[in-house]
């Protein structure tokens, strides 16, 4: 029997079926392109499904004072001014349209009294801004996009007799390598998880929408899919990654019982009145309001409590500080011995509102704690602590077109896998809207890129055979090292040495250990055959996790300051000089990570004027402030 590698031809291949990937695919199909969607899990199960709180968009439905400029400001503040300003601008401007569009696909958001989309408060957002559906917003988003794709397939079916004529979903399929023709993307190579069969998709444009990297950490809210595949594929294809030192540790992951360690307790628990207390029963967040935020946050419990009903005349409770601040605060409380036995603090709504209201407003939290932890959150507090949640860093892209930087062309990236939008720290709710805004842009520009191509790049057979060898290697080492052990060792290195609080010595140590792991991963083995063999799948993913971890560790060692999702014990505090610098990772010929400093793009005059000088003075260098003053004087 002749072995076959299935070969397909597409115009645009979208890797990832989360919010970003699906939105990109819709746009490419609407542009008339033959589109493939690839997903490691089943259709409709991507990570986006887990998002709870909502999608941020300045629609002004609840507070009419909200607009894109306020949203832009909040986003820049949240990211500590390290964001790519243009991405933050596009995001703030286009998010409302993208949300409204979802309604035309059939989404059913919660409503305000006058029938508009309701919006809720969330950490770091000045006004209620998150469109939501109870606490299952991600599910609504992904289901809506999934159903829109089905609807497009039905149109194609009516026209051609085949559902798959223009847009096809390859579920449970992993891409292991991008194939190039010179510096142009020519296709993608991968395998069907179910059967172990290989496939080659030839396409001149590839959109990466593969999500994040959290699986390299032990305590994480992320699923097995988050092995940084897209990050690694981009690197190997010659693209660059930025901001890899910035990882968001969500302040409130469950810490008890152990089996659910890491699973998220949505921020809306705090937005709706939940408070954090240490083991002494003290509401400790008041002690942790940093100077930059002093003006916006309440100083007494009374004022904080009044805010829930009268936000216009009171300052917000410190529980709603950006995530990095809350995560660090909890970390500190635990370290100083005021944590719970399981290493967390208490998050309490039970004493704050009536049981019916809790069940109504936080249904899936109620459900989750009841069924997973046997805890009734209407009667007792939850135990929470920081969990690795989101990677701000990712593929460096052109803000307008989502095209990857570096030498490669034809590669686009959107969603969590892309970098720049969130700077050093992402605000809650800004991811779901990011997926939609930049997913659409990536699909649109990938299609335009295909149209402009004079000649299609070609896949070289030798590259396909090489990719095949790499994929099969673990199976040819049946007695090689166990991939699960390797993953645990990697998680230990990252969690212990490149965690929330970082130190130069530990980071150097981590880099050394990562090198050792590299050698071991080169000898990883997988027992069994090719059919749905999770051990083999993990063995293949390990090399991606490793290279991405190396980027994070290297960049973390380089950045000698603390900002957002990067805290250096030996360099506490922000340094305005470092704000001007992006750390850019690429792969050199030998496959090692190469780190470079690049200047951050400079914000346009009309955008920087949206901020007041006192605020800017906390972030900018003296030279930049002089420039700002000159601008304002005009």
């Amino acid at each position: 029997m002749t072995t076959r590698i299935e070969r397909h031809h597409y115009d645009v291949v979208v890797i990832g079926a989360g919010g970003a990937g699906l939105r990109a695919a819709i746009e490419a199909r609407l542009a008339g392109k033959r589109t493939a969607i690839i997903s490691k899990s089943l259709f409709g199960k991507a990570h986006t499904v887990m998002a709870e709180g909502g999608a941020a968009a300045a629609m002004g439905n609840v507070n009419s004072r909200d607009n894109w400029m306020v949203h832009f400001r909040d986003t820049m503040r949240g990211g500590k001014f390290l964001n790519n300003f243009r991405m933050a601008e596009l995001h703030a401007k286009e998010a409302p349209e993208r949300i409204w569009e979802l309604e035309t696909y059939g989404a059913l958001f919660d409503r305000t009294k006058d029938g508009k989309i309701s919006q809720r408060n969330f950490g770091g957002h000045e006004y209620p801004r998150l469109a939501h559906v109870g606490d299952r917003t991600g599910l609504e988003l992904i289901r809506t996009l999934q159903q829109k794709i089905v609807s497009l397939q039905q149109e194609d079916f009516a026209e051609t007799g085949s559902y798959d004529a223009k847009i096809k979903v390859f579920a449970e399929t992993t891409i292991t390598e991008l194939l190039l023709d010179g510096d142009q993307v020519a296709g993608a190579f991968g395998y069907y998880r179910e059967s172990g069969e290989f496939l080659l998709l030839e396409a001149p444009a590839v959109v990466l929408a593969t999500g994040g990297v959290g699986r390299s950490y032990k305590v994480t809210s992320n699923s097995w899919e988050y092995t940084g595949d897209g990050h690694a594929l981009a690197l190997r294809a010659g693209a660059t990654l930025i901001n890899m030192e910035f990882l968001q540790f969500h302040p409130t992951g469950m810490v008890w019982p152990p089996s659910v360690k890491g699973i998220l307790v949505t921020e809306s628990v705090r937005g709706d009145g939940g408070v954090l207390r240490n083991s002494d029963g003290k509401r400790f967040m008041f002690d942790y309001v940093p100077d930059v935020f002093r003006k916006q946050y309440a100083e007494t419990e009374e004022e904080a409590d009044r805010w829930y009903d009268d936000p216009d005349n009171n300052r917000r409770p410190p529980e709603l500080l950006p995530r990095d601040e809350v995560a660090r605060a909890i970390n500190n409380e635990v370290k100083e011995g005021r944590g719970t036995k399981a290493g967390g603090v208490f998050l309490d709504v039970s004493t704050r509102m009536p049981a019916e209201r809790i069940v109504k407003r936080l249904p899936s939290m109620y459900h989750q704690f009841k069924e997973l932890a046997d805890v009734d959150i209407t009667k007792q507090p939850m135990e929470v602590g920081p969990t690795c949640h989101y990677v701000m860093g990712g593929v460096e892209v052109d803000p307008d077109s989502a095209a990857a930087s570096g030498r490669v062309t034809g590669l686009f990236a959107a969603g969590e896998v892309s970098g720049g939008m969130h700077g050093s720290n992402r605000l809650g709710g800004n991811s779901l809207s990011d997926l939609l805004v930049f997913g659409k842009r990536a699909g649109e520009h990938a299609s335009a890129y295909v149209d402009a191509l004079a000649k299609r790049p070609k896949v070289a057979t030798a590259d396909v055979e090489a990719a095949l060898d790499v994929a099969l290697a673990p199976l040819n080492r049946q007695s090689g090292e166990n991939p699960y052990t390797l993953q645990q060792d990697l998680q230990a290195v990252m969690g212990d040495l490149v965690g929330i609080i970082r130190r130069a010595g530990e980071l150097t140590d981590a880099l050394k250990r990562l090198q050792e792991l590299k050698l071991r991963v080169a000898n990883v083995g997988a027992a069994g055959g090719r059919r749905y063999n999770p051990g083999w799948h993990l063995a293949i993913d390990l090399r991606n996790m490793l290279v991405v971890s190396e980027c994070t560790a290297k960049a973390a060692l380089e950045r000698e300051e603390s900002r957002g999702g990067h805290t250096r014990e030996d360099f506490p505090g922000m340094n305005p000089q470092w704000r001007k610098v992006n750390l850019v990772c690429s792969l050199d010929k030998s496959g090692d990570v190469h780190l470079e400093r690049k200047p951050l793009p400079k914000m346009r005059g009309e955008l920087i004027s949206l901020f007041d000088r006192t605020e800017l003075s906390k972030y900018l260098t003296d030279d930049e402030l002089i420039e700002f003053d000159a601008l304002e004087a005009k």
Partner: protein, 343 residues
């Protein structure tokens, strides 16, 4: 605090398999999925099982635990007796792929046949206005995490392969109901469709689907029964449906969309045989590796991608002579047929 517990797990593929025994450590507060992960990490790395969120949100980890359809990540070990053996088997209604993983294509196929939301004409994006009370009814059904436990449980298709073609199952009844109750959906024939195309008439309201739904959606009471009642309203004759508990397709009248929404008729569920290929339709057998550890690279262009030229999309024919790499078959050497790189 770990104790050893006895587990029995079905291992095998579509060619057959059996229950295997394992003794595994179980710790305080763990769920069944944790135990499967421990088995993978310590005893049998190739044990196949789907999961994603580990928090009951994605609906990937559906399995049968002691014969009951459940989510592995939401079944706490403390719900079993200390000395109870826990038996884990794959969903029974769907074809086996390997171990605990089944081919759930049936469900995606039915999803694809259910007509999508029809936006109201003349209402611009941003102008949608709906009352919370009006959206809540549909929102209940949109909580569905597509775990397909209800589909697996429903006796109409469980062990009745022959009904699959004509029966969409509870998951898609709630989808039809959701759209029927959507305040702004422009279609008015959702109930007719459910009756005529989805096989709603097969359902005899046993409520088994409601019982297993991990999202506690009241599938029968809130979706199926109202959908049935409305069909009755419309026809002004309750006996029409009571009299015919089981419909055959050709007995149904008013087949509104029968033409454009061709159902699958093939036995093996996947519609390839019926001419409507599915996303996950693929050869079931794993390909061998050559002696040198490589695999042959050959082309297989499938018809449903819009039929590209086998020579590539931008190839001008005839080819310049220098680029032609076709070798004439040499008699005696090529008896085994085409092999190797077809480039």
């Amino acid at each position: 605090m770990g104790t050893k517990r006895h587990f029995r797990v079905w291992r095998g593929d579509e060619s057959g398999g059996d229950i295997q025994d394992y003794d595994v450590e179980v710790n305080d507060g763990e769920v069944v999925l944790d135990i499967i992960h421990r088995l993978q990490a310590t005893q049998t790395p190739d044990l196949a099982c789907r999961w994603n969120c580990k928090a009951g949100k994605c609906g990937s980890c559906s399995m049968e635990i002691n014969g009951k359809p459940k989510l592995g990540c939401m079944t706490r070990m403390s719900t079993f007796e200390e000395d109870e053996t826990v038996t884990i088997t794959p969903l029974r209604t769907f074809p086996i792929i390997r171990d605990l993983v089944t081919d759930v294509t049936f469900n995606y196929e039915k999803a694809r046949e259910t007509p999508a939301f029809a936006p109201p004409a003349g209402v611009a994006p941003g102008q949608y206005r709906m009352k919370q009370v009006d959206v809540e009814r549909s929102q209940e059904f949109r909580k569905c995490i597509e775990c397909f436990l209800c589909q697996n449980t429903c006796h109409v298709v469980r062990d009745h392969e022959e009904n699959k073609a004509a029966f969409s199952g509870p998951r898609y009844f709630i989808r039809a109901a959701e759209l029927d109750m959507h305040p702004l959906d422009a279609r008015t024939d959702r109930k007719d469709y459910a009756q005529a195309e989805q096989g709603l008439g097969f359902c005899n309201i046993t409520k088994c689907c409601t019982e297993v739904c991990p999202e506690h959606i009241k599938i029968t009471d809130n979706a199926i029964i109202p959908m049935k009642e409305r069909v009755v309203d419309r026809r002004y004759d309750p006996l029409v449906w009571l009299g015919r508990k089981i419909f055959r397709r050709d007995q149904l009248d008013g087949s509104a969309h029968g033409d454009s929404m061709a159902p699958s008729t093939s036995v093996g569920v996947t519609g390839v045989a019926a001419g409507t290929p599915f996303s996950s339709a693929r050869p079931s057998e794993a390909a061998p590796v050559r002696d040198d550890g490589r695999m042959d690279v050959a082309e297989l262009a499938l018809p449903q991608q819009g039929g590209p030229s086998p020579f590539g999309d931008d190839q001008e024919l005839p080819l310049p002579p220098g680029e032609i790499v076709y070798n004439h078959p040499a008699p005696g050497k090529d008896d085994t047929g085409p092999k190797g790189d077809a480039h």
